[in-house]
Symmetry: C2
Subunit: 106 residues, 2 copies
């Protein structure tokens, strides 16, 4: 499994609409994507226009090749693209370590 | 609960030592910190000198006031500070949404 971390800046004043659009996408787009496992979505406290969206995929290619090459990517961007203040910064990560306890937020 | 996200760049060639230092800190430093809950620690695939360390705290002040003002912060930085290529970018987040399923990596 790999973790996609998307660092997102949205246009000022469009936070509520953006959050709603992500929630819709999570139930209508990503659930159909091959290899998608789960997500978490966080709002920044210090920078109110910043969000971090993290998605877990079975493989890197499930995101970079399969998803980005599918109509689902177009659906996703049509839902949220207009809220971006700049292109999201997206990279992928592999786990080094984590607490043994069940995660609450992280 | 709040999520601390530290975006870290380490000096080239010091990744293994840095990962080991973080593992030590997780068992010797953060377990003593008031309000610390858990962590996850990820290595970037595209940028091998980049890591994302995420820590869950009961409150923002548990990290920004209590921890940073305590000797534990000095211990933490003495373990990992020499590996940083630049000051880590650290901000705090509150949860907007997450999958209902138990997290695997995210």
């Amino acid at each position: 499994m790999i973790l996609e971390v998307a660092d997102i800046r949205v246009k000022t004043g469009q936070q509520v609409e953006f959050e709603n659009a992500v929630k819709i996408a999570m139930t209508t787009v990503f659930t159909k994507a091959k290899g998608f496992r789960e997500h978490n979505f966080h709002r920044c406290i210090e920078s109110p226009d910043r969000y971090v969206l993290q998605l877990t995929w079975d493989t890197l290619e499930d995101h970079t090749v399969e998803f980005r090459g599918s109509p689902l990517f177009t659906e996703w961007r049509s839902l949220v693209g207009s809220f971006f203040a700049q292109p999201p910064q997206v990279e992928h990560f592999e786990l080094v370590s984590r607490s043994d306890t069940k995660p609450g937020v992280a």
